[in-house]
């Protein structure tokens, strides 16, 4: 529960996430900023994006991101700017590079493996013959009937 409490403490807020004074006057730019901030981590929080967070550091990052966008950065440039300063830890969506390929590939690989194993099993079952089946003993049959009858 302690872990949960810490998480909740950090989620709770004296203020709300995005403040009115941060919002850019250009709605298109603001929408880009909102989208990007959903993928950036509030570094002092747990699994929370800067868009949702109330921490002052998240506010600083939101303002920084908006400054970059206003200065004419593309989405990728603005994000790179922040990653260069705070490390890839700041990205909630781990980039598919290097060892992270393992993370992204794990699901599909597992699906292939499980699918293959499952298919092998099904092939085996469909080829098995009915003679594999051992009948119930008379005692078991009686109990089964008893249960089924209620």
């Amino acid at each position: 529960m302690k872990a949960l409490l810490v998480a909740l403490l950090l989620m709770a807020s004296p203020a709300l996430a995005v403040q009115p004074d941060e919002i850019l006057s250009d709605p298109a730019l603001e929408e880009r900023a909102r989208d990007l901030s959903k993928g950036l981590r509030c570094l002092v929080c747990r699994n929370e994006s800067i868009d949702e967070s109330n921490a002052s550091l998240a506010r600083d990052l939101r303002i920084l991101l908006r400054e970059r966008l206003v200065a004419g950065d593309s989405d990728a440039e603005a994000v790179d700017f922040i990653v260069a300063r705070y490390g890839e830890y700041v990205l909630l969506n781990p980039p598919a590079s290097g060892s992270t390929w393992l993370l992204w590939g794990a699901g599909p690989l597992m699906l292939l493996l499980a699918g293959g194993l499952g298919y092998g099993y099904l092939r085996g079952r469909s080829k098995a013959t009915a003679s594999d089946q051992t009948p119930l003993s008379s005692e078991e049959q009686a109990r089964l009937d008893d249960i089924l009858k209620g």
Binding site: L8, V18, G107, G118, R125
Partner: protein, 666 residues
């Protein structure tokens, strides 16, 4: 509340008795583990018979210990360390009670209480089980109890006293002082820990060396019950997060949430594979493995939440005692069960013969998808740790990853569900099975297209989600209708179908409704943030929110800033909203209480924030389409499970308890 800090308190002994009962329960659990196991091995009836009274006694003593702790909370006994840290005399009674499990020690006591409750239930209702199997099931269940009793007594004793009791307590975290969260942990634990029963059945069957149709039938109600509780627990937690955390998120892919979601996925898989064991005597070793893994994920979840490992490696290093203890419990039970599995699985050969196109295969597809999606959640949850340990990379795995990596499996699952459930056992004619679904498919596509036309130029998420929801819901209704045969009197036959058929339909439809709800909410949310002066208003979608007044009020243990707002749609007043911002002085914590105008089509969600230096108050307003579908779907899933659980087959299995005679020793 009538219970003041100064009220004379004369029940001191109860705490000591509770403490004593806990230790006694520990001792009984040891006996219940050892004696019946030996008895079952040697076929000594008397030794095996120890298990049942022991299970009852263990439960009664644990319940007494838990009651004693609750008594201490209710009477605000501040000589108990735990009560001081987690309660306050001014707290409302409901939260004094829920404070019992709103902390580490108390929640672990709840954990073992549920372990022993399930053990006792198996003793009471397991009369139709063969004697040796029953003795072994109860022994394994007690062994789990032993481990956690030891954990509580050695590392997390809730009954520790303080030499000099303070006048008042430090209060429960205000965020937890909420009806939704008061009942979230007990349900979640009933689910989590309920899987211990399935685990005990699996291990007992491995020791026994026998898994047959009857085993499938015995184990299914326990899995079903655990899954229903998990469903309710997760839904309550998600609903609470939605209205309490102040921005309307319902799922964060937080490790603590994932910890409860992984057992849910595996329990769902297990439910389905146990059907194959029961009806077709196939997939046996896989089902046993799933039963072991499902409880394994419950233990992993407990470990994640209790050790704080994933919150921060430092928190773990500073206080590793508890984490290491749970890790040892996990290693013992998982290692032991898996070794046993490796040794004995070959005994469990499949008997049923079926073609590749059959319901057996469809259920296997369900299992593959659920198990792999669980694996994705698992690897995503553990990856930050693994990456740091093996690749020296410090990175985050957040919601964007899970959304992208997990969702495809759910889409596949939704697509496959109506097709799979239309398949007959053994050998299916795919054309005949799919024929009734043609119109359903066309109708579902039409629903998706309609959604695409109504929304303008946005992502495919919403339309695809609605298509899936419609496909699953209508497909499953079609399936139920198909069971009524042909000709006259179909409606009458519909009402007479077994409850399990209805349960299947309702639960599957619930999944479809939840899928549509999640897609709608994710795709079509709108929000607006403004600083409003009194009398000012803001527009969001076709709605207008007007701030009428802001006042400060005093609550029982908090002070509150309450905004009064009027909600207009297209200029017409539709409701009054009163969002609050509370401050709890004892805990020095603020909380937000959103005001929500609930509706089947959408929620209007309003939050009040700080007063601005420039004048006015920060108001956030959200339109959240289809949100309630998420929880309605969860409720339907739980209801479907309950219908299934009340089916005659299972009632018969339970009701047969009194008549059954023990199987004579071989």
């Amino acid at each position: 509340m009538a219970w003041g800090a100064v009220a004379p308190y004369d029940g001191t002994m109860i705490t000591e008795l509770g403490h004593f009962a806990l230790i006694l329960a520990f001792a009984i659990a040891i006996i219940q583990t050892v004696v019946p196991l030996i008895g079952a091995q040697k076929r000594w009836s008397g030794w095996m018979a120890v298990a049942e009274p022991a299970a009852s006694a263990q439960f009664a003593l644990t319940a007494f210990a838990f009651g004693a702790l609750m008594w201490a909370f209710v009477t605000s006994d501040f000589s108990l360390r735990l009560v001081v840290l987690n309660s306050h005399s001014m707290k409302p009674m409901l939260y004094k009670i829920s404070g019992t499990w709103g902390n580490h020690e108390g929640s672990m006591l709840l954990w073992v209480l549920i372990v022993s409750l399930f053990g006792a239930m198996a003793a009471w209702f397991g009369g139709n089980l063969p004697q040796t199997l029953r003795a072994r099931v109860l022994a394994v269940q007690a062994a789990i109890g032993v481990a956690f009793f030891a954990f509580i007594i050695l590392t997390s004793n809730p009954f520790l006293r303080l030499a000099t009791p303070p006048f008042d307590g430090q209060d429960l975290n205000p965020l937890l002082q909420d009806p939704g969260l008061a009942f979230h942990p007990p349900f979640l634990y009933l689910g989590y820990v309920g899987l211990s029963m399935t685990f005990s059945f699996a291990v007992a069957a491995l020791i026994e060396g026998r898994v047959d149709a009857a085993w499938g039938r015995w184990v299914r109600p326990w899995t079903l019950a655990a899954w229903i509780f998990l469903t309710i627990g997760i839904a309550l937690g998600s609903w609470w997060a939605y209205y309490e955390l102040g921005w309307g998120g319902f799922w964060f892919w937080d490790p603590v949430e994932n910890a409860s979601f992984m057992p849910w996925l595996l329990a769902a898989a297990l439910l389905h594979s146990a059907i194959v064991v029961e009806k077709r005597e196939s997939l046996k070793s896989w089902t046993i493995l799933l039963a072991i893994l499902a409880f394994g994920f419950s233990l992993i979840g407990t470990f994640i939440v209790r050790s704080g490992l994933l919150t921060s490696v430092h928190a773990f290093a500073n206080d590793p005692e508890r984490g290491v203890f749970i890790l040892m419990i996990m290693a013992f039970f998982m290692g032991g069960a898996l070794i046993l599995f490796a040794l004995r699985a070959s005994v469990l050969e499949a008997k049923g013969v079926f073609s590749i196109v059959s319901r057996e295969s469809a259920l296997l597809v369900n299992n593959v998808l659920l198990a792999v999606s669980c694996f994705v959640v698992f690897i995503g949850t553990m990856w930050p740790l693994l990456a740091e340990m093996f690749f020296d990379r410090k990175l985050s795995v957040g919601p964007p990853f899970f959304d992208a990596a997990f969702t495809p499996f759910m889409v596949l699952l939704g697509l496959a569900l109506p097709i799979g459930s239309a398949m007959p056992w053994k050998r299916a004619n795919i054309g005949r099975a799919l024929r009734p679904l043609r119109y359903v498919f066309l109708l579902a596509v039409a629903v998706g297209c309609l959604a695409f036309v109504i929304q303008t130029g946005r992502s495919l998420l919403g339309p695809v989600g609605l298509f899936l929801g419609a496909w699953v819901v209508m497909g499953t209704i079609m399936d139920l209708w198909g069971r009524t045969g042909r000709g006259e009197g179909r409606l009458r036959r519909l009402t007479r179908l077994p409850r399990a058929d209805w349960g299947k339909m309702v639960a599957h439809a619930g999944l479809g409704v939840t899928m549509a709800g999640i897609a709608g909410l994710t795709a079509w949310s709108q929000d607006e943030i403004r600083a409003l002066p009194i009398g000012g208003s803001l527009d969001v979608g076709s709605y207008t929110v007007q701030l009428d007044n802001v006042e400060r009020l005093q609550g029982p243990n908090y002070v509150s800033t309450v905004g009064s707002l009027t909600l207009f749609q297209n200029g017409k007043e539709i409701s009054q909203l009163r969002p609050e911002k509370r401050f709890y002085p004892v805990a020095q914590m603020p909380t937000t209480e959103a005001a929500i105008d609930y509706n089947l089509a959408r929620d209007v969600y309003v939050v009040i924030g700080d007063e601005q230096d420039t004048g006015g108050w920060v108001i956030r307003a959200y339109i959240k389409p289809l949100t309630n579908w998420i929880w309605i779907g969860c409720a339907l899933m739980a209801l479907g499970g309950m219908l299934s659980l009340s089916d005659r087959r299972f009632r018969v299995a339970a009701g047969a308890a009194k008549r059954a005679t023990p199987v004579p020793a071989e």
